[in-house]
Amino acid sequence: MSAIFNRRAATVARATLVALCALVILIPTVAMLWVRTPWARGEHRRIVQPVPFDHRIHVTGLRIDCRYCHSGVERSASAGLPSTQKCVSCHTQLWRAGSPMEPIRQSVATGRPIPWRRVTQLPDFVYFNHSIHVNKGVGCESCHGRIDQAAEVEQAAPLTMSWCVDCHRNPAPTLRPLEAVTTQGYVPPGGDRDIELAAVLMKRYQIHSLANCTTCHR
């Protein structure tokens, strides 16, 4: 009986088996690592806004409080973006044609808001509320990073569920007094690990660990 396979067949067969086993392990591992990377989460992705609004000028330079522009942040679920009227109160000389202010001028003329592009966004099936965080001493910085140093706002946190849940399970270390929620570059008076202050704030604001599914999925 003539041979039905050539000499290399056994090697090829073994290599295939090993490769299959390796793939079975490798593919899920790579996938699990990939979804954790900033690229997969869309962190630090550059988003070009219609007007090159710069938080550095307005927050650091002019010392405008976040709440002046994001006025919903203490009272409602969404922080909200400022109306064109707010910009125009300072920027009165918009009429240079072709300037970066052009969309503002158009907005004033047509009455339609400036089409800002969203940077930080959760899926629709997640319920998020700014007011509870801001009123319980969680600073903007904890979730949005150093806005005062951002020429363009980027997504600063992974926004995975574990990111939310990790803080909810143990919120104490991130808390700050209410006066400091919008402060950028906040350092607790007792240094980075001010455990006493954390305990005081937990009590003062009556903070619980909210890790029930229905907290965020309603």
Partner: protein, 459 residues
């Protein structure tokens, strides 16, 4: 060559078999060419498999709202079909692993068929819970893996264990089946006409030569797999049953469920095995390989399981009455027998409790027609049992104002019928291309019978 006569064993475990060479030729023969009936059957069952796929596609695209179930009957055909199919699988493992460990040599002629039945039943079974997820592409959420959600599945629930049990069961069954196939695939490689066939069988035979050392390792591995598979016969359906009994629902919330479901599973599987073995035996003239001993033994097992199942039915009812709980009593003693699905309950009881008692008669145990019809009746009866438990219990729960009847839609029916179609389709493909009787084991059995060593342990 027939076994020495034995007063307790009227039928030999193998009949008059030819020598090894002819045995290989006879048993592998059907793999080389299709019989006349094969193509039409293959095409018809393929059409039903297509119906299955269409129904699945429709379910996935439109969502499971196209099924008839809705609150309060949140589980209906989907879960019924799942439990039914996975139960059927159990008989295969029972025969191939359990009986191997118990040194029941007669299993040799039918274990391949039974294992194939297990695999194809599991293919069907695992589809139903996946479809029931609604968004099957997220099936991996069921698996405990380090997710970006920072939470794990609830290990106190039986559902993650269900996934683990079924996945383990499928893997072990497949590997066990394949391991058993290797010597036969090698025989097919050597006996096949044409180079192309020999190549294909050769790839799957993994270079098996039949050397003594290979056999030695093979035997050990086979036994180890049997050891792994045997507890699965018990554990898988126990876990499936816990999906029900962990709930508070009268009609589900019962401690007898695990053994009750395991017995029912083997029972339904043996019934389906009869439906497969009898035609195969007849068409391929395997009367000397699958002898009347096999039929007799399967019938006895069915009788045993049937009695145990009847006992479970009684216990279930008794437990409800004895609990003194009005809801339990209502569910088990009023709603189930006399409620909207009462007719199904009585058909189920007749089919599952009465049918097996035919097999007290030795004549009935070897009458192929009786066996086949009994197989079909029990097979259907066991589907009804799951339906009555699942949808029946859900339709009339604590709050009469929310009582609701389940009415299946065409998608429900297509999935049920289609899954049977897919099963038949796969089984026909198996008969056509895979050695469907374990040639190596039959040869060994024949040899042992000849030497007189098998009969003592081959009851």
């Amino acid at each position: 060559m027939a076994a020495p006569p034995d007063a307790l064993q009227p039928y030999p475990v193998v009949g008059a078999l030819p020598d090894d060479g002819s045995l290989t030729r006879d048993l592998l023969g059907p793999n080389w060419s299709a019989s006349r009936a094969w193509w039409p059957l293959f095409i018809v069952s393929g059409a039903f498999a297509v119906l299955f796929i269409v129904a699945i596609a429709f379910t996935v695209v439109k969502g499971i709202g196209v099924w008839g179930n809705n609150i309060p009957v949140a589980w209906a055909y989907g879960i019924t079909d799942f439990v039914w199919w996975i139960g059927i699988g159990h008989a295969g493992t029972f025969i191939s692993a359990f009986l191997l460990l118990l040194n029941q040599r007669w299993r040799a002629s039918i274990n391949r068929l039974a294992e194939a039945m297990t695999i194809f039943a599991l293919v069907n079974a695992s589809l139903f819970p996946l479809l029931h997820l609604g968004r099957p592409w997220f099936f991996y959420w069921l698996v405990p893996y380090p997710a970006t959600t920072g939470v794990w599945p609830n290990f106190k629930s039986s559902l993650p264990w269900d996934v683990a049990a079924i996945a383990t069961y499928f893997t072990v069954s497949l590997l066990f089946w394949y391991l058993g196939l290797i010597p036969d695939l090698a025989a097919a490689r050597d006996a096949a006409p044409g180079l192309r066939r020999r190549r294909v069988y050769g790839v799957f035979a993994l270079g098996w030569r039949g050397r003594a050392r290979e056999w030695q390792h093979y035997r050990v591995a086979y036994m180890l797999f049997a050891g792994l598979a045997t507890p699965l016969v018990i554990s898988v359906h126990s876990i499936v049953s816990l999906d029900f009994s962990i709930t508070q629902l009268p009609g589900w919330h019962s401690t007898i469920f695990p053994p009750y479901f395991v017995v029912g599973a083997i029972y339904s599987g043996l019934a389906m095995l009869l439906m497969l073995v009898l035609p195969v035996r007849r068409i391929f003239h395997l009367e000397e390989v699958i002898t009347r001993r096999h039929l007799d033994n399967i019938a006895k097992l069915i009788l045993l399981c049937g009695c145990l199942l009847a006992y479970s039915y009684v216990c279930e009812m008794f437990g409800a009455w004895y609990s003194g709980n009005v809801y339990e009593r209502f569910a088990m003693l009023i709603s189930r027998p006399f409620g909207p699905y009462g007719v199904l309950f009585w058909i189920m009881t007749a089919a599952n409790v009465l049918t097996p008692h035919l097999f007290w008669s030795a004549r009935m145990r070897t009458n192929t027609i009786v066996l086949f019809v009994a197989g079909v009746i029990i097979w259907v009866g066991m589907w009804l049992e799951r339906f009555v438990i699942i949808a029946g219990s859900l339709s009339q729960t604590f709050l009469p104002s929310s009582w609701h009847l389940f009415i299946p839609t065409w998608v429900d029916w297509s999935l049920l019928v289609g899954s049977v179609g897919l099963f038949v389709f796969l089984f026909l493909a198996f008969l056509r291309w895979v050695p469907f009787v374990s040639v190596a084991e039959v040869k060994r059995l024949r040899l042992d019978v000849q030497r007189g060593v098998a009969e003592r342990s081959a009851t």
